[in-house]
C-alpha cells in the first residue's frame, strides 16, 4: 500500500506523482463575489477545448441553462435567486408593494427539468424541496400551496434580494479520486499538479464518474469517453492562462500558483468581512480538508450545498487501505470456508 499521505492529508501532488523538479502547483481561485454571471468562461472553455454543446433547453433555473458540470460543460455558471439580504446593500425592493417571494417556488419548478446534455448521466431532475430551500435558506418552512403566488395580502413582503452567481469547475483535488481509480492511467497528474483526462487513453470505463466527490466528471454520449476541465494543460504548458480565466471580465476567475492564490483569497475574505459581508467564506482552500485541498477553490457567499457543492467532501481513497484489508479478510474467510467445506464434514 502506498504511503498514507499519498492518499490523504496535505500534499504537493506533482512530486508525489513522480514529477521531478515540478513547477509550482497551479490552480484557480474563483471569487464569486465579483462574478457577473456572463458565462464567458463557459464559452471560452468550449472554444478552446472544442467542447460540444450541452443541449438547447430552457431549464428554469434562473439564468442557468447549462445546469451542471458535464463532459460537455467544463465550466458551469450557477445562478441562485434569493430573497435574502445581500451584504451591505440597501434592500433591493424596500418600499415596493411586494408580496411573498417566489424564488423558492420557482426554484422548485426549476428542479424538475431534465434536459439532454448529450452526456451520461448529465443532469437528472432534482428534489423540489431542496431547491426551494436553496432559494429560501435554511429556515425554509415549505411553500404556500393553496394560493397562487402573489395572492397573499399578508404583511409578509419581500424586500431583500440577492442574485448569486458562481462559475464552477473541476476542483483538481490534491487527492483526486477520479485519478486514483482510473484503471488505464488516462486520468493523470500533470507536472502542474492538475488532473487531466488523456483523450487518447480513456476507454470510458466510467469509474471516475462514481469516484468524484464533486460530481464533476461524466461521459460524453456517442463518444463514450469521460471529459472534464484540463485546466488548459496545453495552454499552461505554453505559459499561457487557461481560456476561462483569460476571458473572465471581472477577474472572478483567477489563475496562478496555488500558494499565491490562497494568499490573495485570504486578503479578499478579510476585505469583504470588513465591508460588512460576513457570509463570505472560502471553500476548498484548506490542504487539511477531506481531499487535501482543491487546486480550484472558491470564495462563496452561501453554504456550499446551495451552489451544488458537497459541504464536506472526503476523498474515497482515504479509506482504501482499510477497504483492501476488509477485502483480504473476506477473501481469507472465503478460502477458509472452502477448505473447511471440503476437508471437514462427512459426505
Amino acid at each position: 500500500m502506498p504511503d498514507a499521505n499519498s492518499l490523504y492529508g496535505p500534499l504537493d501532488p506533482a512530486p508525489d506523482a513522480g514529477w521531478v523538479e515540478a513547477p509550482p502547483r497551479m490552480g484557480f481561485f474563483t471569487d464569486t463575489s465579483v462574478c457577473i454571471g456572463c458565462k464567458a468562461c463557459e464559452v471560452a472553455c468550449k472554444e478552446w477545448n472544442g467542447v460540444p454543446d450541452s443541449g438547447f433547453d430552457l431549464l428554469g433555473m434562473s439564468y442557468d441553462n447549462t445546469g451542471a458540470l458535464t463532459a460537455n460543460s467544463w465550466r458551469h455558471v450557477a445562478f441562485i435567486e434569493q430573497p435574502r439580504p445581500a451584504g451591505h446593500r440597501t434592500p433591493a425592493f424596500a418600499g415596493d408593494p411586494t408580496g411573498p417571494a417566489t424564488s423558492p417556488a420557482s426554484a422548485a419548478v426549476g428542479a424538475g427539468t431534465a434536459p439532454d446534455t448529450g452526456t451520461n448521466p448529465g443532469l437528472p431532475p432534482g428534489r423540489p424541496e431542496a431547491a426551494a430551500r436553496m432559494a429560501a435558506g435554511p429556515e425554509f418552512l415549505g411553500m404556500p400551496g393553496a394560493q397562487p403566488p402573489g395572492r397573499d395580502s399578508g404583511a409578509e413582503t419581500r424586500t431583500d434580494f440577492r442574485w448569486l452567481m458562481m462559475s464552477d469547475v473541476c476542483k483538481h483535488c490534491t487527492h483526486a479520486a477520479c485519478l486514483d481509480v482510473c484503471p488505464t492511467g488516462s486520468l493523470f497528474r500533470t507536472e502542474f499538479g492538475t488532473v487531466v483526462v488523456q483523450e487518447d487513453i480513456c476507454n470510458g470505463c466510467g469509474y471516475c464518474i462514481s469516484a468524484c466527490p464533486y460530481g464533476v466528471i461524466d461521459q460524453r454520449k456517442g463518444d463514450g469517453r469521460a471529459w472534464k476541465c484540463t485546466l488548459c494543460y496545453d495552454r499552461i504548458g505554453a505559459g499561457m492562462t487557461p481560456a476561462c480565466a483569460q476571458a473572465c471580465p471581472t477577474e472572478s476567475i483567477q489563475y496562478g500558483p496555488l500558494d499565491e492564490l490562497r494568499e490573495r483569497a485570504a486578503t479578499r475574505v478579510a476585505a469583504l468581512h470588513e465591508r460588512g459581508v460576513p457570509e463570505a467564506r472560502l471553500y476548498g482552500h484548506d490542504p487539511t480538508d477531506g481531499v487535501g485541498g482543491d487546486g480550484a477553490f472558491f470564495l462563496l457567499l452561501d453554504e456550499p450545498e446551495a451552489y451544488g457543492l458537497p459541504p464536506d467532501p472526503v476523498v474515497t481513497t482515504r479509506d482504501l487501505p482499510k477497504m483492501w484489508k476488509r477485502a483480504g479478510f473476506a477473501a481469507l474467510a472465503m478460502a477458509a470456508a472452502a477448505v473447511a467445506a471440503f476437508v471437514g464434514g462427512s459426505s
Partner: protein, 189 residues
Amino acid sequence: MGLKTFIQGWPVYRQLTGTDPLGRGAAAQSARSAALTARTETADGMARSVCPYCAVGCGQRVFHSDGKVTQIEGDPDSPISRGRLCPKGSASKSLVTSPLRQTKVRYRRPYATEWEDLDLDVALDMIADRILAARAETWEDVDDEGRPLNRTLGISSLGGATLDNEENYLIKKLFTAMGALQIENQARI
C-alpha cells in the same frame, strides 16, 4: 529494439523503474500528452483584431493555420479590455467558422417558394440593372419650385453597425452619387 522501445514505453515498466510507482503522473502520461502544446503556439499567424459585437471595442487576437481561424481570444495588450472577452466575444471563432454561415449567393425569384443558386458576378450585374431601372423610374430632378432634388426615393438601404468606417464611407459616397437619399443605419435604431 522494437520490443525494447515498446516495453520502455509501457507505463507499467515506467511505474516499476521510475519515480511514479503508483502510476499517477509521470508514468501514466501518454506520448500525445507529453507532446501537447497550445495551438496558438504553432499557428501560422496571428492577426490583431477587434471584437465584432458591442461597442466596448475589446482587442482580439485571431490565430490562423492553413487559411483557417483556429482560435480567437482576448488581446492582453489592450488597455480597453486587458485581454478579457464576454461570452459573445469569446464565441467569435464559432461565429466566423460556423457551418451555418452562408457562403453561396442565394436568389429568390419573384413569386418563388424556394431559393436557387446564382453566380456572384451575375448577381452583381442584376443588382446594378435594378438600381438603374429604379432610379430611372423614380428620379426626381427638381421640386415644384424648380429647386434641385437630384434624387431617387425608390431605393432604400439599412446598414448594420458592424460595418467598417471605410465601408460606410464608400456606401455613403456611392449612394449619394447615385442620388439615393434613404440610406439609414442601426445608428437610427
